[in-house]
């Protein structure tokens, strides 16, 4: 028997925008377009019926061996989720093929198929069946599932009365006990509390060790590096790199850095309502006035230039370290009395940090811009900046490469020297 679990051969997926662009059309739209197309069909002339196409996947080819754990990385919209959807048979490819050998379990979004009116127990059976488990199988593993999810006492309560954490745990527990030969995972670890996340990770590692093939999609690069040995980097639907995971991750990070060029408006990997876009994001050292190099412990200022002023503008910045771990979130929606709404400011938002408590190293900033109560723009790696060794609260900072990301102002009591 061959030990290839998944083989992809020039797999492509093309979506037709236009009608499906707005979710779904009405019969009328379709009739109108149909009528427009008639003269074209009959005499080869007439108004063009134009559709936009989006190639979500292009000529993707690779092989996955049994028992291998693979991390899929790439920007938003690079095709990671589309690829998982094709592999789990939800959508059909438009070209090429994929051979999938063995039972596929997908955790594309845990808890879909959970019905709020049904009890935990009923949902376990329904969800298990949806994921492809036999009834006898679910019954045999039911206790294990309930225990793993830690919701034993609420099994006969409708799921609508569960906390979101509880229902996610239950959903993950069902999926985790599917014992698939091939497991497809998309971002599930973003949910649940820290201890549950650890449990889920351990479960996935166990699944991978037990010989299952795992394809894993996450924005959390550290998790991917911990779980997978091989990484596949997708960009605009095509495979950019297929390499040991650390190599693929660093190539991805380098790509992000290149993309953080001066004019952010050329970036296309953004989503949102786009009435106002982030044009430029820069981090200044207030004392030196220098951009993108800040001495730790000094006052820093982050300036976000946008294209338009909108009502109710707010911004959320995520500072991410060089390994891809988020370090801190700065959110203007969580307002403080010291915040100022300045009508003279123009399309610009400024954020001041009194003494930057980051250890020396390279950081990037992801930005989410909100306005008119909508998500306007979401851009990963809008800027990179370096933190130079400095002094916080009179104390020198640990050197680059020390454990941790942040410096805390603190003091000691020690025995005499």
């Amino acid at each position: 028997m061959s030990d290839v679990a998944i083989e992809l051969h020039e797999l492509g997926k093309r979506f037709r925008l236009g009608l499906s662009h707005q979710g779904y059309g009405t019969l009328r739209d379709s009739l109108v377009n149909g009528v427009k197309a008639v003269p074209k069909k009959l005499i080869g002339r007439g108004p063009e019926v134009e559709y936009d196409y989006l190639d979500a996947l292009r000529d993707v080819s690779f092989e996955v061996h049994r028992g291998e754990a693979i991390g899929l990385i790439g920007h938003n919209g690079a095709g990671k989720s589309t690829l998982l959807k094709v592999l789990s048979r939800i959508i059909e490819p438009s070209s090429g093929w994929a051979d999938v050998t063995g039972r596929v379990g997908s955790l594309l979004e845990v808890g879909t198929g959970f019905h709020p009116e049904l009890t935990g127990r009923e949902n376990v059976f329904l969800n298990g069946a949806i994921l492809g488990m036999r009834r006898a199988e679910i019954r045999a593993r039911f206790d294990e599932i309930a225990e793993f999810a830690d919701v034993d006492r609420f099994l006969d309560t409708p799921v609508k009365r569960y906390s979101s954490g509880m229902s996610v745990r239950l959903a993950f527990a069902v999926a985790a006990h599917l014992e698939p030969e091939i497991l497809l995972v998309d971002e599930v670890l973003a949910v649940g509390d820290a201890s549950f996340q650890r449990k889920s990770l351990a479960k996935m590692a166990e699944v991978a060790k037990a010989g299952s093939t795992v394809i894993f999609v996450s924005h959390n690069l550290a998790t991917i590096q911990a779980l997978c040995r091989r990484g596949i980097l997708l960009e605009r639907g095509a495979v950019l790199a297929d390499a040991p995971v650390d190599e693929a991750v660093s190539q991805y990070l380098r790509g992000l850095e290149r993309a953080a060029s001066d004019d952010l408006l050329v970036r296309k990997d953004r989503h949102g309502w786009k009435e106002s876009l982030v044009r430029k994001l820069a981090v200044y050292d207030v004392a030196s006035g220098e951009a993108d190099v800040v001495v730790g412990g000094r006052k820093a200022k982050i300036v976000i230039d946008c294209t338009e002023v909108l009502p109710m503008m707010d911004v959320r910045l995520t500072v991410v370290n060089s390994l891809g771990h988020p370090v801190a979130t700065l959110d203007s929606e969580l307002s403080s009395l010291s915040d100022v709404r300045d009508p003279e400011l123009g399309p610009r938002i400024e954020c001041e940090i009194d003494s930057l408590p980051l250890i020396p190293g390279r950081y990037r900033i992801d930005v989410v811009l909100r306005g008119r109560q909508e998500l306007q723009d979401n851009l990963q790696a809008a800027a990179y900046f370096d933190v130079e060794p400095g002094v916080l609260d009179g104390r020198p900072m640990p050197a680059m490469g020390a454990d941790g990301d942040v410096v805390l102002a603190h003091s000691w009591r020690l025995p005499p020297a």
Partner: protein, 292 residues
């Protein structure tokens, strides 16, 4: 392999890989899945779970519960008896108008409510359709399966009413299961068609309630098929519900000669509807997740 995974997994049972099947995912055209019995059989437990879900949901948090199954036909029976039986004087042959209409309303209520719910079934669970693979035909099928419970209850009540009126059904009653299958086949065809169109065009949502009302009037529910002159009487039974409804009257109320011509014509109608519905569903199923 199915059996193996169902048993307690032990270290020895590990060679699940005995014969893992390889599925090739590629662009397809023409017919593929719905008519693949293997695929449906593989997911048979899911079909059961969906029916159980639909039944549970229908009665959970309702004050009257299963009484709803009979309330609708009985309410219509009363209204129809007053307006069509008394006021308009529609002929119901030898049987009281109330019975005449109830015998027709029982299958009609099954048909109309499953048609309404079934055509929404895919759109209602679009999260499921866009995120998980399973044979999509189970969605409309689940609605119909759950409808059988209501139908069973209302047939039981119908028989009680018939006995109260002093009518003892003849052996013709053994014909009921065939009529129910006929109605279910027509329903599956219609809901497969409508739910699939609904994925692309939400217009279906507005058309179906309206169409159900129209359909009631082209079906001999308030009137008797015998009031239509030939050959139209037989031809109109291409509407599958015409044969089902007249068949129910004959089977339950023992009204003389069996309406073979109508039932035959309706069987043809139901078969056509079923084939058209499944064929369309099968052709478009592959694109559901793209556009829903």
């Amino acid at each position: 392999m199915e059996q193996m995974t169902a048993s307690k997994p032990s270290e020895e049972a590990a060679p699940v890989a005995a014969a893992p099947t390889t599925v090739r995912l590629e662009p397809t055209s023409g017919f593929s899945r719905v008519l693949s019995p293997r695929e449906l059989w593989r997911y048979r437990d899911l079909a059961l779970q969906i029916v159980v879900r639909d039944i549970t949901l229908r009665y959970r948090q309702t004050a009257l519960g299963a009484a709803w199954a009979i309330l609708q036909p009985v309410a219509f029976m009363i209204i129809f008896s007053v307006f069509f039986g008394r006021v308009a004087g529609v002929s119901s042959g030898d049987v009281p108008y109330a019975l005449f209409s109830l015998a027709a309303l029982v299958p009609w209520a099954f048909f109309s409510s499953a048609l309404l719910l079934g055509s929404e079934s895919l759109v209602m669970y679009k999260d499921l359709v866009s995120k998980i693979y399973f044979p999509r035909i189970f969605m409309p099928m689940g609605v119909i399966g759950a409808g059988f419970v209501d139908l069973g209850i209302s047939i039981a009540i119908l028989l009680v009413v018939v006995l109260v009126y002093g009518i003892v059904p003849s052996a013709a009653i053994l014909f009921l299961p065939f009529l129910i299958i006929l109605a279910a086949a027509a329903l599956l065809g219609a809901t497969a068609l409508l739910s699939a169109i609904n994925v692309r065009y939400r217009d279906v949502r507005y058309v179906v309630p309206f169409a159900v009302q129209m359909w009631l009037f082209i079906t001999p529910v308030v009137y008797s098929a015998s009031s239509i002159s030939q050959p139209w009487q037989t031809l109109s039974a291409i509407n599958p519900m015409a044969g089902v409804v007249e068949g129910f009257r004959w089977a339950v109320l023992d009204t003389g000669s069996p309406p073979w011509a109508l039932i035959g014509m309706s069987t043809l109608g139901a078969t056509l509807l079923l084939l058209i519905g499944l064929a369309y569903f099968d052709r478009v199923e592959r694109s559901f997740a793209d556009i829903i």
